[in-house]
């Protein structure tokens, strides 16, 4: 069950995912190397087909081959492939971490993710909005304020029940630390405390992700590690 990674590696990965997604006030100091946005080119993928393929690795082929695929352009995400099944796959960048995450500006981060239909309607717009604001040159503070205003004016949709996503790509790069990756599903809930799902408690298979958590999006994200990468090969056991 431990696969090729020992438990120390798994703890390291858990720690890094938590660091990436759940940075609290005590962790608010950013790593010096990623204190500012890098040149835009470093966040882009020159090969459009490679980005499409990477986005699709987030979910099993049975889901992603008929999903809509977006790729990142200079001003935001663009539709690269029209979908048929209501799912949408995209490669998120570091700025989809919490605003205080140390690797928020890490240009190496690549987070392939496939949203289910409910998340396509209610979570993907947050990814698109944040990305547009980033690429327009806004600061984190300006971006947070802009998103808050958009939420208040209902220009961004409310969370739909049943929103979830797949992050099962073997090729994801989620952090500089450890093995860089974690095979998991993400489930989006109305803003709540991590304790209400027993997340991060000893032995619990649920992890809390501080991706939104009311700052400003009123959404709580939980991770559930799963056993196989999207290609069907075993992922490290949690």
């Amino acid at each position: 069950m431990k696969g090729k990674w020992g438990s120390s590696h798994l703890l390291q990965i858990c720690a890094m995912i938590l660091a990436l997604t759940a940075a609290g006030p005590a962790q608010a100091q950013e790593a010096k190397s990623y204190s500012n946005m890098a040149p835009v080119e470093q966040y882009l993928m020159a090969d459009r087909d490679a980005e499409i393929a990477l986005a699709r690795t987030a979910a099993p082929d049975s889901v992603s081959r008929e999903a809509e695929v977006l790729v990142l352009g200079r001003h935001g995400y663009e539709t690269a492939v029209k979908g048929k099944n209501g799912f949408t796959c995209v490669v998120e960048r570091g700025w989809m971490s919490p605003f205080n995450a140390p690797e928020f500006w890490n240009p190496k981060l690549r987070g392939p993710i496939c949203f289910n239909p409910a998340a396509t309607r209610s979570i993907l717009p947050l990814t698109i909005k944040r990305t547009e604001l980033i690429l327009a040159g806004m600061s984190k503070a300006q971006m947070a304020e802009s998103i808050k205003s958009a939420l208040d004016r209902k220009e961004l949709p409310a969370l739909e029940g049943g929103a979830m996503s797949y992050m099962m790509s073997k090729k994801a790069y989620l952090t500089d630390s450890g093995e860089h990756n974690l095979c998991h599903l993400m489930i989006y809930a109305p803003l709540t405390e991590r304790a209400s799902w027993g997340a991060d408690l000893a032995g619990s298979p649920i992890m809390f992700a501080g991706q939104f958590q009311g700052a400003p999006e009123p959404i709580t994200v939980f991770l559930v590690p799963v056993a196989k990468w999207s290609d069907g090969t075993p992922a490290p056991s949690m």
Binding site: A118, M168, A189, P205, I206
Partner: protein, 235 residues
């Protein structure tokens, strides 16, 4: 050579036919065996502390030790331990299986689960009511109709958003076919929301159950460990 081959094929076919017949006969026996409710005593756990421990085995101790625990009495569930974290742990009995499950009245079935606070408010009432109705002597068809009516009249609530539970007990028993199955989490949604987690697609690590007459969609995700931290089987 051809004759010997034909004889071999005939023998293998005969063996398969016999095996299939035996399997079908066993299934019919099971269906007959659990065609109606067994004596109530068979659904009860005589040792109250054992039932409390079994209920708590549904989730890791970090969650279950502070959860409220219910145990089954002759007329329904009773509070056996008060909780402090908003979770409730309880052992479901066979009548919480789907109505078309042949184990519906199997008194050996034990399904420990620990519900989170939204599920305590919106899904635990179903467990409590079904137990009361079953222990009052309702037949399966009456239980079906009563459950349907309870949802139609809003006597029973729809799943609240964020409702989920832990089913990570190594001691759980889904009946002879599935045994203790796997360690998993469950997530509930109103069927009317038409939630799609892609569970019908190959390779997706999610199972879906559409209940009837309960207007509830249930998703299950297998996890790699039982609540005691030991490795659990995965699909």
């Amino acid at each position: 050579m051809n004759t010997r081959f034909a004889i071999a094929v005939a023998l293998v076919c005969s063996l398969l036919v016999v095996c299939r017949a035996q399997t079908e006969a066993k299934q019919q026996d099971n269906a007959g065996q659990f065609a109606s409710m067994a004596p109530i005593d068979q659904y009860l756990i005589a040792d109250r502390n054992a039932e409390i421990a079994l209920a708590r085995s549904a989730a890791p101790p970090s969650i279950a030790r502070d959860a409220k625990v219910l145990v089954l009495g002759r007329h329904g569930y009773e509070t056996a331990a008060e909780g402090t974290n908003g979770f409730v742990c309880v052992v479901d009995r066979s009548w919480m299986l789907p109505f078309d499950n042949p184990e519906f009245w199997d008194p050996a079935v034990r399904l420990p689960f620990c519900l989170n606070p939204p599920a305590v408010r919106s899904m635990l009432p179903l467990t409590i009511k079904e137990a009361e109705w079953a222990l009052a002597g309702m037949t399966k068809s009456k239980l079906f109709d009563r459950t349907k009516a309870a949802f139609e009249s809003n006597e029973l609530p729809q799943p609240e958003r964020g409702s989920m539970c832990f089913m990570m007990s190594k001691q759980q028993n889904f009946g002879p076919k599935f045994g203790n199955a796997d360690s998993h989490l469950m997530f509930w949604f109103p069927q009317k929301d038409h939630v799609n987690w892609g569970a019908e697609f190959p390779g997706v690590p999610v199972d879906v159950h559409q209940y009837s007459p309960q207007p509830i969609t249930e998703f299950a995700i297998s996890v790699s460990k039982w609540s005691d931290g030991t490795a659990a089987p995965l699909d």
